[in-house]
Amino acid sequence: MSDKPKLAVWKFASCDGCQLSLLDCEDELLTVAGEVELAMFLEASSARVEGPYDLSLVEGSITTPHDAERIRAVREQSRALVTIGACATAGGIQALRNFQDVEEFTRAVYAHPEYIRTLARSTPIADHVKVDFELRGCPIDKGQLLEVLSAFLHRRKPRIPTFSVCVECKRRGIVCVTVARGEPCLGPVTHAGCGAICPAFDRGCYGCFGPAASTNTPSLADHWKKHLGVPDDELGRAFLSFNAWAPDFRAEGERHG
């Protein structure tokens, strides 16, 4: 037995990318493994240490009756619970079902819809249990993941900025893609964390970190419409993607969709 803090990583409906971010910390992984006991991390280890756990990282959204039960069991065994990524925090891209008829979706994909057990909605973890911190991103940023791990192990608050991608973009000295080229960009309303990579690659931000702490989405939508000539259906799709069920994006998307 080890007296190190016990870390658990759990997966619900997701692409595995956010938990992969931990394994992608090639320079830090062995140091992290020296500081915590990786008690439950099925993607990386067949060892399973019983709870309770000091910190649970939860990836993925709740989409099945079984997972709705399982997340409650995870919460009961966890001193702190942190969601990682857009699926766990906002329902993920699979929350696009929430706007449509899931039975019709099932029929579209599967020959025998009666074999499929799924909920009508894909919902974030916080709809089901108490969440201590939500880390955003589709995928999360591994630097931010390390900060969250470090903060929780030292029982302090994570230093994760809640301003918009615009702030990161200006700090990097990137030429604004909207001002210079008339490119639609969700940077003004999107939560920082990625480092403004899309504008750095000459394209507009597509909102994969979800809404920033305070947003004025109607004003941005108005600008896209009046000054960039973006049609309503396009506007709707822009807000309804990887964080479609995040309240600010959902409301704006539904206004145009």
């Binding site: 595995d16 992984l29 990386a44 599967y110 020959a111």
Partner: protein
């Protein structure tokens, strides 16, 4: 008197996604093997409908965090096929470079972190690092080199942002590309050492007469282009895929099983690519394969770890060659006209053939999308392997048998997140 034993493992570890295995043994005979995939369905093909075709590479990347580039590549090639556009020259080479990055990253993840622990009797790479830190550091360095390619060309390792229909949004600077070449020279040495290391593992005696299916290109080990060929004479264009393959929905799985019509199960992935294309591997990859004793074909799925390691050598050498002859494209992308059409493409994801079909309407919106990932194609073959593998090993204790079955599944590096998307293992002996 009938003998009845029951073995259960609730969650199979070191695979990507969630699934279960249920093996039934009655009177010393394997009566049923069921790979159950209960990864929740995410309905990508349904919500792609009505999206703009240009969104397909960003959306389909989210099917899999381990191989997003594969989804982006199959998507852009299928959409370019619909428009009748062929992307060539430096842009084509940069796409190969990006794919090399994903092969290095994904294969190294599987070789060092998911598969090697089985052969060393460890639970994880972290346990391995306690005894052999230098070895694990080598794996991490190699994986990092693959990720460096994807991050430089794609903007980030997971769900890259720089791939678009017609090419890229932006081409990285010459200085960054030459720094990448230096990192890849070390990576090539690490990759060669990896082949030597895994070739010496102790492999169970087990060979299967598979029908192998992979892409084949006249001049290149396949990434993005080629005809779909098999070891039993199939030779078709990606456009003809649905005439020869069919998807079947079975109750135990949220992933559709794919079969060759009238023939049944087949195998995609590293062993298939190697069997059908080994002569086109890079010179040092061919040499490493010879020294590792792979020969012209490898039919032991446990040795797939050696083939993956050889493919990493190839990807490093190929990436270095692309960088050595790099010419800057005039524009980062070519124009791809919109218009009602249907497009098809298959590319070689790290786990095997990945086929996409899109029907686009006159407004440029997706009317229909169909995505056939490698793990759903291999599902039937995984079950067949297990049936054959377990039969002569029934005298093993339940714990040993369970461990070996898990290993046999991990041979496939199954990406259940892709296939729908958890592995639970139940052995029921009656």
């Amino acid at each position: 008197m009938a003998e009845s034993r029951s073995i259960k493992v609730d969650y199979l570890a070191r695979v990507e996604g969630e699934g279960a295995l249920d093996v039934r043994i009655e009177d010393g005979r394997v009566t049923d093997v069921r790979l159950e995939i209960f990864e929740p369905p995410r309905f990508f093909e349904a919500f792609l409908r009505g999206r703009r075709s240009a969104e397909a590479p960003d959306i389909t990347a989210r099917i899999c965090g381990i191989c997003p580039v594969a989804y982006q590549m199959s998507a852009v090639h299928a959409l370019e096929d619909a428009a009748g556009v062929q992307v060539d020259g430096p842009l084509r080479r940069l796409r190969r470079l990006l794919y090399c990055g994903e092969w290095i990253e994904s294969h190294t993840l599987h070789v060092y972190m998911l598969h090697a622990p089985d052969f060393l009797g460890k639970h994880s790479v972290i346990e391995m690092a306690k005894e052999q830190p230098e070895l694990v550091e080598r794996g991490l360095r190699l994986k990092k080199a693959g990720n460096a390619i994807v991050a430089l060309l794609g903007g980030r390792e997971i769900h890259p942002v720089n791939v678009r229909v017609g090419g890229f949004y932006k081409i990285p600077g010459d200085r960054e590309l030459s720094q990448l070449a230096r990192q890849l020279e070390t990576a090539l040495d690490d990759a060669l050492a990896t082949v030597e290391w895994v070739a010496a593992f102790d492999f169970p005696d087990f060979e299967v007469d598979y029908e192998f299916v992979a892409l084949r290109h006249p001049d290149e080990y396949p990434f993005n282009e080629g005809r779909i060929v098999s070891s039993r004479g199939l030779d078709i264009d990606a456009r003809e895929f649905h005439e020869h393959f069919e998807e079947v929905h079975v109750e135990r799985s949220n992933a559709l099983h794919c079969r060759l019509k009238q023939r049944g199960h087949y195998k995609v992935g590293p062993l298939a690519r190697y069997h059908l294309n080994h002569g086109l591997l890079s010179p040092r990859a061919q040499q490493a394969a010879r020294v590792a004793g792979l020969g012209d074909s490898c039919r032991n799925p446990f040795r797939s770890i050696v083939v993956r390691a050889v493919e990493v050598v190839h990807a490093c050498e190929e990436a270095l060659a692309i960088l050595a002859d790099f010419e800057r494209p005039e524009r980062p992308f070519v124009d791809v006209p919109a218009g009602a059409a249907t497009g098809y493409a298959a590319t070689e994801a790290p786990r095997g053939l990945l086929h996409h079909t899109y029907r686009i309407d006159a407004a440029g919106l997706i009317e229909h999308a169909q995505i056939i990932p490698p793990t759903s194609q291999n599902q039937g073959t995984i079950e067949d392997d297990l049936r054959q593998f377990i039969a002569p090993r029934l005298d093993l204790a339940d714990d040993d048998l369970r461990w070996q079955c898990e290993q046999a599944i991990r041979n496939y590096d199954p990406c259940i997140s892709c296939a729908t998307h958890f592995l639970k293992l139940t052995v029921d002996r009656r």
